[in-house]
Amino acid sequence: MAEHLIHTIPSMPRVPKELERQPLVLHQRGFASITDAVAGIAEGKTPKWWWALFVPSVLLTGVCFAMIAYLISTGVGVWGLMIPVAWAWDITNFVFWIGIGHAGTLISAILFLLRQKWRTSINRAAEAMTIFAVMCAGIFPLIHVGRVWFAWWLFPLPNSNSIWPQFRSPLLWDVFAVSTYFTVSLLFWYMGLIPDLATLRDRAKTKIRQFCYGLFSLGWTGSNRHWSNYEKAYLLLAGLSTPLVLSVHSIVSFDFAVSQVPGWHTTIFPPYFVAGAIFSGFGMVLTLLIPLRSICHLEDIITTRHVELMGKVVLATGSIVGYAYGMEFFIAWYGGNPYELYAFKNRAFGPYWWAYWTMVSCNVICPQLFWFKKVRTSMVAVFIISIFVNIGMWFERFVIIVTSLHRDYLPANWAYFSPTFVDIWTFIGTFGLFLTLFLLFLRFLPLIAISEVKGVTPQADAHSPLGGAKHH
């Protein structure tokens, strides 16, 4: 709380210490200092840590594309998948990355509509993460097909054969869902960037920077009219994005739920997938922002309270996911379908038991530690748990896809899947791509929404400079 003001204004009611709410920006940072802190990251000399991360990331990106080149030039067989496990790491990785891409838009759209002001410190980075994650995700459905050069047949484009795609196929719904989600997320992110790009333009020292930022800030002057239009558009886009957050992962879950593979054919999938996606998305936001706030000295803007709040979201969604795991088993038993029951028994106690229990430990048990405030506020603990959440959510998709497929109806088909080095390096490579893009974003764009953060500082409110409920 703005303690210096309390002394100067004696009429200010004293709030008991334990009821005091943490302000969203600590240490009474002024507007200028917020601008300096955020814009400075994009303007200053490239720090060594950046290069130390960027060079390996670019190399990994190279590995990723080399693996893809090998795959496309040789055949899908370079991966470990086979019949019956005809989808394995490819779709696992796709769903994993798409899930990560959920946090950004959820933070920027749903929390915006719900007037959760704390979102402002993290929404920009989370949205960037979303876009890069969706890019990584998009790679997999594209390259997993046997004949990549015909992948465009999934789009309803006029072609010489006059054949439409098959609108009953969930894969087609994926195409629409993911491309819509990506487009809207990108627009939303870019929209939000415009005032900050203008700030960077105004602060730019070199011609090139002035030109580039100038180009992308679309002539922003900060006039009232601009702000008015901007906020209306922002609200509209937030409204548009909100159903998408729910729809994308619901539709991704239809890939499985619509089929009749025991272990896939489950009505619980859409809500369970959405919860899981938010869970994994927040996990990734935490993984990225906790080191970032310390390296970039943003502790005053991304505060412990932010981290704690995200921890609560992780706890809530993790519990939903855990409930879904339990409910799947219950229904498998209650449904009386022996094939279904076998699929779930096999998940927990079959050849892939290790994957299942890794998943349960990471997704259900680990986040329960967030019941403790000490854990929620310990950056190290939160960081470690967020890593576990990421691992767990990758395994969740692996477990759903591979353990269901590897033993389905006819035991004669049963088989055990193992990945090849191409599977592994393609996946690791996408982290390189993701980090490369994210590091470029850090270096050249404001990673925190400067104008929005300013708006939630106490001093931005002329009527309540000490801060009030609306600033929290």
């Binding site: 080149a69 090998y70 030039s73 040789t74 055949g75 899908v76 067989g77 370079v78 470990g80 998948l81 086979m82 019949i83 019956p84 496990v85 005809a86 989808w87 997993h144 097909v145 046997g146 004949r147 015909f150 992948a151 047949w153 999934l154 054969n161 054949i163 439409w164 795609p165 098959q166 009953r168 196929s169 969930p170 894969l171 087609l172 195409v175 890939d255 619509v258 089929s259 009749q260 593979v261 379908n337 022996p338 094939y339 076998y342 497929l405 033993r407 389905d408 109806y409 006819l410 035991p411 004669a412 088909n413 049963w414 088989a415 055990y416």
Partner: protein, 1167 residues
């Protein structure tokens, strides 16, 4: 392969036009100019296997060919290459031609109809005109077409390692003929394989007269003719027993795998299955008792199986004989020498003997009933049959023959046919060689350097002959030890003849000129004999001239010859049963000899018993280089590309080994190393070793081809001695600590209590004929009726009242409705055909799992092989697979069920679901339904998401993970980005020609020839699966439409065509046809009570249904199971007995509880 129009030669008659004065003058410059104008074509002339070359050969085969079965008329006798320009009468470009021929086997032949496209044979099928054949074949015959186009086959004439022109070899043969004429054949020895060819026999007679001092030997590493020797000794003359399994009611096999590894399996399967074609529950059914050591296909089909070491089969036979003829003293003597092992319950033998005796007692009555009964019914099986296998010593064969005589089977199930004089044995050739008596050794076909007993040390023994002349199909192990090597012609390239085992004369006629100029046995013999007529064609005709005189009905020679070639048989040439005298003294003599010389020590952990067996796929190794066979999963173990050392669970536990452990086996000082495979059902303390693997490729010294190079860790011949050719006692096994990767196509052997294969004992079937429909989830649900599932067509014709309304509309009906609702007149479009609706049925009682269908499908549908590594990754491409489940094996607590499991097989291919789960998930409409009920794949549209495979509950779809057709299997993982072929960057090659391959061009051109031009070759990245042989369907429809003209009778009559698997099936287990045709066999089968579809509760409505399996066990036997083991598993794990009607939830309130079923899983006896 694209059809290349034939070259147009100049017309030989008519007006001649000249292009220039040079042309008129036929100047050399002009000729050169002509060639330069077509450099591609010109350069191809020198290419031995180019397309153009094939066009020439093609022309040759037309000249040879004439018209086959599909055409009318007969072949022309000319043996010349004619230009295509003068088109053959009856030849329609692009239409396949069919020729009757036969594949010779040891002492028999498989009668065939071979299909040729533009002169290249692409498919062989059984000849159903043969009196003893239903048109089925075995898997080796189906695969034989690939060996024709094997690039590794012997292609050149070789003298002392140097390639020589063919003429040099012929000159040598002529010189030898002159030389031996002078010496009357002194020092001339022939080593041959068994053959039934009358021409070869005639030449052998001719040569024996001309060269009386020449010696003749026959060698087969696995001799399937032991029964012949036993029968001959009992009859006191040269005879051969001929078995008619279709006539037998009770069959007992003594280590005889007549389904898998004996002679003429296709006709045995046909006979056996015809005795199991139970349509009505009251229909008669044969019963099979099997006494065996290794788990064989026969054991899998058996109603009762006795597991004893092969050495102890003689004891079981003796005990049986004593039960059947208790008064025969020599049987008692034999029984004393070979007492029953402790593991065998005497009751098993006693009850089995009683069953055999009962069949004997009922024989006369049964035969009378058949004679008096209505003619339209197939005769009921009567009497019994006892068969002894090739592994067993002579005494067991003698006992089998004697017991058949005692049981009254001779003349009914066993016919005695006259036979020729057998040749001398390899051991005597060895003596002659060691004595230096052999000047020229002529080896025709056999590969003794590999296959001769190891103690013969054949490579060195053979070197004692001055000249070794070898006619061989491969440059194999014997190639390296021969002075002269002549390439042998494939049977589809050569004129010949053969007798099938019933004595019917069949022609072996070529469809193509020898690709590499190979010769045949009879040509070589004729040359060595210095005969005037050395062409195989003339020899065969001359033989036929003699043969046709024996069949008065055949008519004059010329017409009979034409008819012979057209029909593929000489009708009426079959041998007749000769009532040969039965000499009981010979039985006593054989028994006395066995008592004196034979030892049968009971194997123990320390002294294991090794059993050498003919491999189901490679035979004795002769088919090793055939990729289709290598990749075919072994019908029992499901292992591909390897041989293993099989042993039982108990043996493995006691020796501390498990599957895939590499062990060292020592027999009499010789050692081999190989991987262990724990085989349920194998006798304890025995090791099964398959012959024909573990060979090496060596272009210089000779060896196996590249396909079979290093396939299998061990070569069983290395430890096989003349003293113990099949059963070698006293072996030791030592663990090496290494493990070895084995590729199987089925990793899980248990059905897990799921009702996938449904079965019942005969008496249960009689009481509850509809048992198969009382199983699985749909038996409990209202949505899917318990009676048969209606097809949309049936619904349209019979009304939907039989079937409750579904939540989801069948796509057919839904579409029909939308059509009418939309108010659009689409009536001119026919969305569901009311002419043809295709369906298939597989009879699980008749199917024996021989896998001929799998190879037939591979051959018909251009299915690539993918290699051991890809099979290990579960990427085999077979459109059709045979699932094999052990029942009883899932219950780990009951180990005796693992040791004595029941097994079931189920052919599994695309089920062509009407409500196909694959179709609705394909994002690009690449897999759709056609109006005749086929689930079709549009390869060109497929992008390869593989979603269809994931959603297929049967997992019958196959994905091209690599360009299997364009790369050698060892280069699949090689990316064109970094690799080169012939020094050129592969990416650049691809850029220049996307069809480029890294297989050497000549080899690739040869490989292409085996492909069926009516089926597309799939590229990488697309899904494929069984099409119900849509090419055959369409071709039949077109023919029918042409025939129908304006009559409108476009429905294809039942039986006009068959799918490849159905055609190849010797058991007639697969039936395919039009469900809309009330006269069709398939429509009749669909009405049977035991017709069910797999996973029916998913409401996929497959067009492939199965007829539940019926077992016919004897309730008095100690190993009788009242409930088939897999049904017991189902019963224990799921709810409800399948032998009681399931009450619907709505009915339970009023109706009494389900009828009491037999006690849960109760089995009689302590077994």
């Amino acid at each position: 392969m694209k059809t290349i129009p034939p070259p147009c030669p100049e017309a030989e008659s008519g007006q001649k036009y000249w292009r220039s004065l040079d042309h008129l003058a036929d100047a050399p410059e002009f000729r050169q100019w002509l060639e330069r104008e077509f450099p591609d074509g010109a350069s191809e002339f020198s290419d031995p296997v180019s397309r153009r070359h094939f066009v020439k050969i093609m022309a040759a085969s037309f000249a040879l060919g004439g018209m086959g079965i599909m055409g009318t008329g007969c072949r022309r006798p000319e043996e010349k290459i004619l230009p295509f320009g003068k088109s053959q009468e009856q030849y329609i470009h692009g239409e396949p031609q069919f020729f009757a021929t036969a594949m010779p086997t040891r002492g028999s032949a498989v009668p065939l109809v071979a299909k040729a496209h533009d002169g290249r044979p692409v498919k062989v099928e059984g000849n159903s005109k043969h009196p003893d054949s239903n048109g089925g074949t075995d898997l080796l015959t189906q695969a034989s077409i690939l060996s024709l186009y094997d690039f590794d086959r012997a292609q050149r004439f070789v003298q002392n390692g140097n390639t020589v022109p063919k003429q040099a070899a012929l000159d040598f043969l002529d010189a030898e003929a002159k030389r031996f004429q002078a010496s009357r054949g002194d020092g001339l020895c022939f080593l041959m394989e068994q053959s039934s060819s009358p021409s070869r026999a005639r030449l052998q007679n001719f040569l024996s007269l001309k060269y009386p001092l020449a010696k003749w030997f026959t060698y087969e590493p696995v001799d399937l003719g032991l029964g012949r020797a036993a029968a001959s000794s009992l009859a006191g003359q040269n005879v051969s027993p001929h078995y008619r399994l279709n006539k037998a009611k009770v069959i007992l096999t003594l280590d005889c795998d007549f389904i898998g590894s004996e002679q003429d399996t296709q006709r045995h399967i046909h006979g056996f299955a015809s005795g199991r074609k139970v349509i009505k529950p009251t229909d008669p059914m044969n019963r099979l008792y099997s006494v065996e050591s290794l788990y064989s296909l026969t054991g899998m089909s058996a109603d009762h199986r006795l597991r004893v070491p092969a050495s102890q089969v003689v004891a079981v036979a003796a005990a049986l004989a004593a039960q059947i003829e208790p008064n025969n003293p020599s049987f008692r003597v034999l029984g004393q020498k070979f007492p029953l092992p402790a593991s065998v319950k005497p009751a098993w033998v006693a009850e089995c003997a009683k069953d055999l005796l009962q069949a004997k007692n009922e024989l006369a009555e049964c035969q009378k009933a058949n004679a008096d009964g209505p003619k339209e019914n197939p005769p009921k099986p009567c009497g019994s049959l006892i068969l002894a296998g090739y592994r067993q010593p002579a005494v067991v064969h003698v006992l089998a023959q004697a017991l058949n005589e005692a049981l009254g089977n001779v003349g009914t199930t066993v016919e005695i046919h006259p036979a020729g004089q057998p040749s001398d044995y390899l051991s005597n050739l060895r003596i002659a060689l060691d004595a230096g008596q052999v000047d020229t050794l002529v080896i025709l076909g056999a590969n003794p350097v590999l296959t001769a007993p190891v103690d013969f040390n054949w490579a060195e023994t053979q070197a004692k002959a001055k000249n070794v002349l070898r006619l061989g199909y491969y440059e194999d192990e014997t190639f390296g030890k021969s002075t002269w090597h002549l390439p042998s012609a494939h049977y589809l390239e050569s004129w010949g003849d053969a007798r099938t085992s019933d004595g019917t004369l069949v022609p072996v006629q070529p469809l193509i000129q020898p690709l590499f100029g190979g010769m045949t046995e009879i040509e070589v013999l004729a040359r060595i004999g210095g005969m005037d007529r050395t062409s195989a064609y003339d020899i065969v005709r001359d033989t036929f001239r003699e043969e046709v005189r024996k069949v008065p009905a055949a008519g004059d020679f010329d017409n009979a010859w034409k008819k012979f070639l057209h029909d593929g048989i000489l009708a009426g040439s079959a041998a007749r049963h000769v009532p040969a005298p039965f000499l009981p003294a010979q039985v006593s003599a054989a028994i006395n000899q066995a008592v004196a010389t034979l030892t049968a020590p009971l194997p123990t952990k320390e002294a294991l018993e090794v059993l050498f067996h003919r491999d189901l796929k490679l035979d004795d190794g002769r088919w090793a280089n055939n990729g289709w066979l290598q990749e075919l999963p072994d019908p029992i173990t499901k292992i591909t590309w390897d041989n293993v050392i099989t042993l039982s669970r108990l043996t493995a536990e006691e020796l501390g080994v498990q599957s895939k452990d590499v062990v060292e086996v020592e027999i009499g000082g010789q050692k081999i190393r190989g991987p262990v495979w724990v085989q349920p059902g194998q006798s304890d303390y025995t090791l099964g070793l398959a012959l024909g693997y573990g060979r090496r490729f060596s272009p210089k010294d000779g060896g196996v081809g590249r396909v079979a190079n290093n396939v299998g860790l061990y070569n069983a011949y290395a430890v096989r001695t003349s003293r113990a050719e099949y059963i070698a006692p006293g072996a030791k096994l030592r663990k090496t600590g290494e493990t070895y990767a084995i590729s199987t196509t089925q990793e899980h052997g248990s059905m897990e209590g799921r009702p996938i294969v449904r079965e019942a004992n005969k008496e249960q079937f009689e009481k509850h004929p509809g048992f198969a429909r009382n199983m699985d989830l749909d038996a409990h649900s209202d949505y899917i009726p318990k009676d048969k599932v209606q097809t949309p067509i049936e619904r349209a014709t019979q009304g939907a009242e039989k079937r409750p309304e579904m939540i989801y509309k069948n796509p057919y009906k839904a579409f029909e409705q939308t059509k009418s609702q939309a108010g659009v007149n689409l009536s001119h479009l026919q969305f569901v055909s009311d002419v043809n609706q295709w369906g298939m049925s597989v009879n699980l009682t008749m199917c024996v799992g021989c896998a001929a269908c799998v190879v037939a499908c591979q051959s018909e549908n251009n299915i690539p092989i993918v290699g051991k590594d890809q099979v290990a990754r579960n990427r085999e491409m077979h459109w059709m697979r045979i699932d094999r489940y052990y029942s009883g094996g899932a219950d780990k607590a009951q180990k005796e069920l693992i040791d004595d499991p029941q097994a079931v097989v189920q052919p599994m291919m695309c089920q062509h679901c009407e409500n196909a789960p694959c179709e609705s998930v394909c994002p690009v409409n690449a897999t759709v339904h056609d109006e005749e009920g086929l689930n079709v794949m549009a390869y060109n549209r497929c992008v390869g998401t593989r979603y269809c495979s994931n959603n297929c509950p049967y997992k019958v779809r196959r994905f091209n993970f690599f360009d299997y057709n364009k790369h050698p299997i060892n280069k699949l993982y090689q990316t064109p980005l970094t690799s080169t072929t012939d020094g050129e960057w592969n990416l650049k090659r691809w850029w220049k020609n996307p069809e480029a391959t890294d297989i050497p061009e000549q080899e690739f051109e040869l490989l292409k020839l085996v492909r069926n031009p009516e089926v597309s070759v799939r590229m990488r990245g697309v899904m494929e699966k069984c099409t119900f042989c849509v090419q055959r369907i369409e071709s039949a429809k077109i023919k029918q439409k042409v025939k129908a003209r304006a009559s409108g009778a476009v429905q294809v009559p039942d039986g006009t065509f068959e799918t490849a698997c159905q055609q190849a099936c010797p058991a007639d287990a697969i039936v395919f046809g039009n469900l809309l045709d009330p006269e069709s066999e398939i429509a009749r089968i669909r009405k049977e009570d035991r017709d069910y579809s797999v996973l029916n509760f998913l409401d996929t409505r497959p067009r492939v249904t199965y007829l539940a399996r019926i077992r016919n066990p004897n309730p008095k036997m100690p190993d009788y199971h009242e409930v088939a083991l897999n049904i017991k598993e189902y019963w224990d794990q799921q709810h409800g007995a399948p032998y009681a009607e399931h009450a619907h939830p709505a009915d339970t309130a009023q109706s009494a509880p389900a009828q009491a079923a037999p006690a849960r899983g109760e089995t009689k006896g302590a077994h």
